[in-house]
């Protein structure tokens, strides 16, 4: 804002105050999910004229959804799984044990950390039975979800 040529005649301090005030107003409105009448009333109390209030509200309405998404994504949560990769292998032998002949799965859960943006993936191996157990439990969770949405 300080570099904008249209605004260069205005005192930078005033500009900063205006920006901060506008940002606070927008964020607070977004946080409370305020509707347009509430915002208008609030701005009327601040002695803004009708035209400006209308302009503000129109712009706000255009960006409301994006704002809500942004605000909703702020906050702490456990590591979030974004994807899964798997590998099926058939073990034949190791230096300790020959003729093992066992299928084995290697599963990696791709994880995203909203704080640091790092990707500490979780990898583990499992047998076919264990993978069936895992998938069974995930399906239980999904079924529960479906039932919850129908309530």
């Amino acid at each position: 804002i300080l570099d904008d040529p249209d605004l260069k005649d205005i005192d930078p301090t005033v500009l900063k105050h205006c920006h901060a005030a506008a940002a606070t107003c927008i964020l607070e409105a977004g946080k409370q999910k305020a509707d347009l009448s509430a915002i208008s009333t609030c701005l009327e109390d601040c002695k803004l004229d009708k035209e400006r209030i209308e302009q503000f509200c129109t712009e706000y309405q255009k960006n409301k959804d994006a704002l809500e998404i942004l605000l909703g994504s702020i906050g702490r949560s456990p590591l979030h799984i974004t994807d899964v990769s798997w590998r099926l292998e058939y073990q034949i032998k190791s230096n300790q044990l020959h003729k093992t002949y066992q299928p084995s799965y290697l599963v990696t859960l791709n994880v995203e950390n909203s704080d640091s943006g790092s990707h500490p993936d979780v990898s583990f191996s499992c047998t076919m039975e264990q993978l069936q157990d895992l998938v069974g439990k995930l399906k239980d969770a999904a079924k529960s979800l479906e039932r919850a949405t129908q309530m």
Partner: protein, 156 residues
């Protein structure tokens, strides 16, 4: 060892060598999973009595499964799956945004690594959950394909 020495009137060293020899015989045989016939042929060269050979064979057959499972633990490996707990949550509000309805599935994944159990708490959203299920079901289905079946058959 001292106890055995007394009983058998034999030097401690000899007993130790005997035990080690026996250990080596059993672990190598179990590791390679040799057949009864091969085992008998192998120990025949040692020149023991028939009765002793029969005893050794029986010892091998009785214990090889357990020995193999212990040897199996020595191979390099990653943390392995133990179990999974899950929970459905709905986020209703946060410091930054009120009046939300955000469903989430919280998972606690229990893994084993070298006798330590670790638990990781992870979260996912409903659509990713369905995606995970679909992907892992595909993984399970792979073993039943012709390709995998052919390899398993030919590797015996």
């Amino acid at each position: 060892c001292a106890f055995l020495k007394g009983k058998l009137n034999v030097a401690v060293d000899t007993i130790q060598h005997g035990v080690e020899g026996l250990m080596y015989l059993l672990t190598e045989s179990s590791k390679l999973m040799i057949s009864e016939l091969d085992f008998q042929d192998s120990i025949h060269v040692l020149g023991f009595s028939d009765e002793l050979n029969k005893l050794l064979l029986q010892l091998y057959l009785d214990n090889r499964r357990e020995i193999r499972s212990i040897l199996g633990e020595l191979a390099p490996k990653l943390p392995s799956y133990h179990s999974l707990e899950w929970r459905l949550d709905v986020q209703l509000a946060s410091r930054s945004l009120r009046q939300q309805i955000k469903p989430a599935v919280t998972l606690k994944l229990h893994l084993n690594q070298n006798e330590d159990q670790t638990a990781r708490v992870l979260q996912t959203d409903p659509s990713t959950l369905l995606h995970l299920i679909q992907q892992l079901e595909q993984a399970l289905g792979e073993m039943k394909t012709n390709h995998c079946r052919r390899i398993v058959r030919n590797m015996k």
